[in-house]
Symmetry: C4
Subunit: 280 residues, 4 copies
């Protein structure tokens, strides 16, 4: 084999790799988009299969079918994982990345179940396959919406932490109050259980597995409900006014010629008179 | 019959058609508005009658009355449908349109019930008559509010899809966790059922038909509730800041030089390269 | 008695009337403010007394005390009503106004109960006294907040009507679907009852008195919950962006000199260059 | 001992005090930050211990351990309280302040329990230790978010009061209506209980411990739910548009000529009379 033949084979291999990468990771070509759609379908089907397996009567009756399906899905995901590893320009970095681990976790449980049979916890790990849907969606240009959420969480981070601490502190205080008022005979037999009830009430979930029986307890419950209701509303207002105001207040540019000001971060020229802007 | 007589008769017919169209589809004349009000009343009455028919004791006692009413409503709707078909400038297009099909579905079940008696599913089809209220409301200038909703859904579409996928993925993850923690003896006897419980809790509905009994399960439940509560609030904030910021995007300016686009109504020069902008 | 004496007496009477009016309807003087506070206390006490009366054991034990209190409150409200009638510049207009009728309804039931004893519905009428708190609050400069709510309801009126119709139409459609899926053996024994359940679920109330038992029913329930959850969020966003945008878009003024535009309704001069503005 | 020795010792003591103050109250040095983290951990651990103590079986089995832990926590908090008192520039002012009292309340119950054993109410007082977390969080620069909440509550104060009064008045009216409709045989045996149910429903909590059984009662319940749902949404919109519009009022310009005030940051001339404005 001459060097040029080797070179051309190497080139061919590189082209193959790039083509696989385009299909597996990209979303520009029609093949890649079809691959994404099929992958989402397979992921959802495998999640449904795992969920059905957990229903005792279904599992007993269709055991062989579900078992076969599970190995089929595992095979498909194993091939996909191998292709991703192979086509990746940095296989190790991919294997260590968040989605690399999720991809591995999607196939490992089935192989492990051969060695350690009957481990129920493996079912849950298998359900983590649902996370893989996010990756595909991300590719399909849904990034903006996802980033929006992440940015909102990061921006409103402190408000959210303060809010969560406040909710839990409120729940502990109100829960111990109701524990004193109602007592064990009405179902409030410990403070943790009463705090659990207070959270159930504050968040307006309201299971009704425990509910106050004495008039005083019902009065306190009514106050807690209205409080929870008011917290939702006020807090939603704060967050949304926060998001609205933080959208543009990063840097303000002032035009020297006409005095017009803009808060758009990419602005380089005054939108009214065309004078170049300088950031302050 | 001379040609002019035929012509005048044809004219008369056309006038009749237009008058019917004005009454049936319009809302300008006082007759049309009265027609709308009567139609809504008849639709609501027919819906109430169908609902009453489904109550076993009521149906047994007032069977003949309800039966007669049903045929009365069907007759009225059949006449209305015929008039709409007749007065429409494009009868076929109307028959194929969304409301055309809804109108047909409002009368068909009763006729079919003569051929195939006792089909319970037909009751539900008959209830679709409630959709016809929207058409009448639409005519009565409620369009803006409805369009507002549709526009909001379209604009926030991606955010909503990401949110729904996230909610379901979260519900599956949390549901399988609680399935491991609580197990079948506390009512969480399969993953689908546990996921159902997780959705009941995340959305703060909280039926209480299944509820966690172990301390660890209640702790997880408390976390899920606060999470669901926080998601409502943060997401409402994102959507409303989204809607607020997107309100001004009626005219979009595109820079010929650098391709940057701005939605600021006062922009006269490209904020990136200083080229004068032209509105489209 | 001379004419001047009569005149002075008439003047004295008029002064008395005005002083009573100041105390009863005003909130400027310290006496008027003290009157408001006492009145609110009496109203709340009377409401509490009526509520206690409805608790059977309490009513049996403290019947005479509650009876005496009721007559005491009725006497106080009768005097107040007489004073309002007397001090009003237009007694008939007051008697016919909303609060005039509420004031009369606050005292009538007790007098009627002498003639027609044991009418339970009169208790509820007596509870309408709580409405009188609003009048006093209104006087005490809480007008703005109340007007805010009313304005919001009026502005968002159409959106709210469309939303309510949509909620009910959705509930009827989903309720009849679940009626087909679950059937009478799982508690969904009629369409009205199923529609009631759909509303309980859509609004995230979730009593749990009826809940789906079949897997398909639970799936539909999960979809309804997430739908209800999403509607809250999207709708809250629409309303708040509506309120925010409608705050200032009534009239837009454009400055002829510098091209600056303002939406402030009271603006008469350009805020940037001082040129007088003309409304369009 | 010479005077300089005394002086140097006094200086040393003052330095000690300042150093303690820096660690205990500050958050600039790394020691102070580590102190904050440890303190939060101890507070949370003590809260968890108190909560565990209230669970009867746990308390019986681990009584000695929990008892020892309680005294350990009390000792740590006593030392901390003494250090705060000692290092404070105004010990009396600290002792009288909100957090001074909370700090004292964190240690007193354990000492009192020696004198008066078995007082259950002391457990709740001990749980108030959770309030101390806020102080530490406050130091750690979370002030802004907390202040945001307080400012929102203060700004929207009147709206919130009107809203709460409206909710309670609505609950009383609707509760007494349902009391008339359903009556004692369906669980609505008194007006207070029915009002409690109305609040449970309006706030979308929905325990399901009491729920309407008659068709009319279920219709009213459906109306109440949709009402509660609508109130959340409309009110959230009002609050957030309120917050958004009030955000820009940092600088207010007052016209010297006509007394008109504007908060628009770009305003240079009075919009009413054209007089040039001066910022304050």
């Amino acid at each position: 084999m001459t060097e040029t033949a080797l070179q051309s084979k190497r080139n061919q291999l590189r082209q193959w790799r790039q083509r696989i990468d385009q299909v597996v990771n990209g979303s520009e070509t029609s093949v890649a988009r079809r691959f994404d759609v099929i992958l989402i379908a397979v992921i959802l089907a495998s999640v449904v299969a795992v969920m059905l397996e957990s229903i005792e009567p279904v599992n007993v009756r269709h055991h062989i079918l579900l078992h076969t399906l599970e190995w089929g899905f595992t095979l498909i995901f194993t091939i996909e994982y191998t292709l991703r590893l192979y086509s990746s320009p940095a296989p190790l970095a991919y294997a260590r990345s968040f989605y690399g681990i999720v991809d591995l976790m999607a196939v490992l449980p089935t192989y492990i179940s051969v060695l350690i049979p009957g481990a129920q916890a493996l079912i849950v790990v298998r359900l983590l396959r649902i996370m893989r849907v996010f990756r595909v969606l991300k590719l399909a240009s849904y990034t903006t919406a996802g980033e929006d959420l992440v940015r909102a969480l990061r921006k409103g981070g402190r408000t959210i932490v303060v809010f969560l601490v406040a909710i839990f502190a409120l729940a502990i205080t109100l829960g111990s109050l109701i524990y004193l008022i109602e007592g064990a005979e009405n179902g409030f037999d410990s403070i943790p259980r009463s705090v659990y009830w207070a959270i159930v009430t504050l968040t307006t979930v309201g299971y009704g597995d425990i509910s106050p029986q004495t008039p005083l307890g019902q009065l306190l419950a009514a106050v807690i409900m209205v409080l929870g209701y008011a917290i939702i509303v006020v807090w939603a207002g704060i967050i949304s006014s926060h998001l609205a105001s933080k959208k543009g207040t990063s840097t303000i540019f002032m035009c020297v010629t006409c005095g017009d000001s803009t808060s758009h971060t990419e602005a380089r020229y005054c939108r009214r008179c065309g004078t170049p802007l300088q950031s302050e």
